[in-house]
Amino acid sequence: MYKRNMYKAAALTLVGIMTLSFWGCGSGSTSDSSTEIVTDPAERGTVTVTLGRQTTANPKFPSGDSYEDNAYIRMTEEKLNIDIQDEFEAESGDDYNRQVSLALSAGSLPSMMKVASKDELTELYENELIADLTDVYDQYASDYIKGIYDSFDGRALANVTYDGKIMAIPATASDAGTSMCWVRSDWVESLGLTVDEDGDRCLTMDEVKDLARAFIDGNPEQADHPVGIAFNANLTSSSSDGTNTINAIAYALGAYPKLWYKDEAGNLTYGSVTPEMKEALSVIKSWYDEGVVDNQLGTRTWDDITSLLTNGQCGIIFGSWHIPDWLLNNVYTLNNKAVFTPYAVVSEEGKVNCTHANATGEFIVVSADFDHPEIAIQILNLFYDDMVNDSALLEEYPDVASYLNEGVDGTARPFNIEVKSNTYLLDEYACLKAALAGEGTKEEIPTAEERSNYDSIKAYQEGSGDVTGWCKIHSRTKGVDLLAYLTENDLYNWITPVYPETTDTMNTSWANLQTLEEENFIKIVTGAIDLDEGFDSFVSGWKAQGGETITGEIEAQLEQ
């Protein structure tokens, strides 16, 4: 009896606290803005802006600078006559999301902050905690910024529009491109092999397998246990360019794991439960059985795979165009004879299947209590238009220019988002390529990042042997170049997935379904369960445990 009373008391207290905290949230949002507000930075007094900031473990600040006091922040404060204070800082990911939730439950939102999911944005909108940005966007956003958002065919702004109102500044995410097959071309040479005989920079699945076989048999670096191809334990990734995943193979077979899309008949489909996915698994399984795929598949960690490459045990890796910058660099550091060449994996029709990225997954929101929502748009203009297009600005703020050259992390900016056109990667590369070929000049390259890539590449070509140069040659003149080649020669077959909002059933069952999927895939490939039986029982299990309901819920979402 005593115990029961205690529980009652505890439950009542909890309910009390929750009501209080909700009340705390709601009360702040009813502000009337009947008084005229001065918006011109030069004419009004200094406005204090509090921010929720994402941080990174390696911001690369020059000594003395910090998140609250750095060149970007100083420039913003001076240009817009504001005083920036951090309400909270936390590392991107769980830590940051936790701080956002805490701020929400304590009813104290910063003036502006980044939210990392559409669900959070919807929740903020429904609770009337964030400001309507429609008017300030129309009035203050520069034409250049508007042009960037327009390059996504309306997908970018549609994502943040609720009941006809723009409720957030969306970050843009351009298409990641295909998951490339990076091959050690110095091995190909030393073993006297021929890869890609027809020179179309594409490989079929069989060619990949034969090459892996040849690398194992040839073992050019006399490694103890040569490995053909290694993959992550969770095999697939929702991002088309998934690194260390089987995405390239699955895509070539017309399977788009972890993504929702409409199939040819117009039915909403989840890529991981399709017959094509089964075929992809059967291919990887046969490679595994033949010893072409790492026999420690499933237990090899990310770092272990990296060490396979650096030790010369493995010479093939699947990944995005930018892996030379942060993963293959380890290979070059240990062995500067290493050279990689990327190839695309093609389907039977000779096309490269690829999926469009979710145009916006991250947002900047402005608190409903904040009197100067236009400042958010002014910051947007300053960083994503002026800083890119106005060279006088960088002359005025040499600190900022040196930040760009030194590669100080993007988290140092007030908004840690990217706002770039859908085709920026290829556009910038076109300028870089022209400059490198002597058909253009360095000054014509639009961004500081690409200009410093130009310098590194030039220095490497002149024999510096510097690792950065090696990286940029690989990521730009090979990786992005392949993407450009695929686009120019119309080799892509684009699929536009549906990126649904989290549904009720997803909230309760999605984590389980993901585990079910990953466990079954790895079991099928390693032969722990039979391919036919295992896959079929996985599909029926997936449907029964919520997959079917979720599909229905997403269809309902799409009809709205």
Partner: protein, 297 residues
Amino acid sequence: MIDNKGTSARIRNAIIHLIVIILGLICLLPLINIVAISFSGSAAVTANKVGLLPVDFTTLAYSRIVSDSQFWRSFGISVIRVVLTLALNLVLVIPMSYAMTRKTSEFRFRNVYMNLLIFAMLFNGGMIPTYIVVKNLGLLNTIWALILPGAVPIFSVILMMNFFKGIPRALEEAAIVDGANPLQVLLHVMVPCAKPSIATISLFSVVGSWNDFFSGLIYMQKVKDYPIMTYIQSLSIDLQELVNNAASSSALENISELSNRNLNAAKIVVAVIPLLLIYPFLQKYLISGMTMGAVKE
């Protein structure tokens, strides 16, 4: 242990020793591996070549730590936190547990307080309500947010209570007959007798507050205010996680620069040293402290 002469006893002893040695190695080897990694060249670390001995011996990682100002700032915050927490814990726990050992005839509401303690030990408000309390008290971003929520470790109170109960009543009565007031009894009779127990709860307090990273993540909203374990936690990077979340290429580049594991290993080693230094001084009390408190008279 009583009869070491029999063969079966010897075999039994050998097996027990073997098990203890294996368990000891399981605890020790990862630590040695971390130390070895911290002294190895980063190339060897990336290639997974470091076992128990450093490969390509270098102290480069340590010289980089010396120049990491945030590391030392966080280190200092943690030292201050540990000292303050320890002092506050002892000041609160010792008198409290002494009072709680009084009979109900002397301390009428003893059982009420005891129930409150037990209740608070088993249930708490959860993360968000606690956060709101800390925030509304104005403690956010101050060192007190790391100290006050854990100022009275109830487990330590119970440990001390059991220990005090084990001290012969006669000692206390003798002091009272000599005219000592309750405070004098506590300070001059009980505390000196309870040294092993105090050492035990001190160690719990120090280890607990030094190793705790989570409260730093929640209550410290600026990276510059992080205590050392929170800072080190923020350095441990899961590249795979970042790649899956489609981080931008330049962000990945900056992160991967840091993910050289030997630097992180060196940071872990430096962060563990203070505990290793304290432990030998307290260890001799530790074992007796735990067991002596366990038996009541």
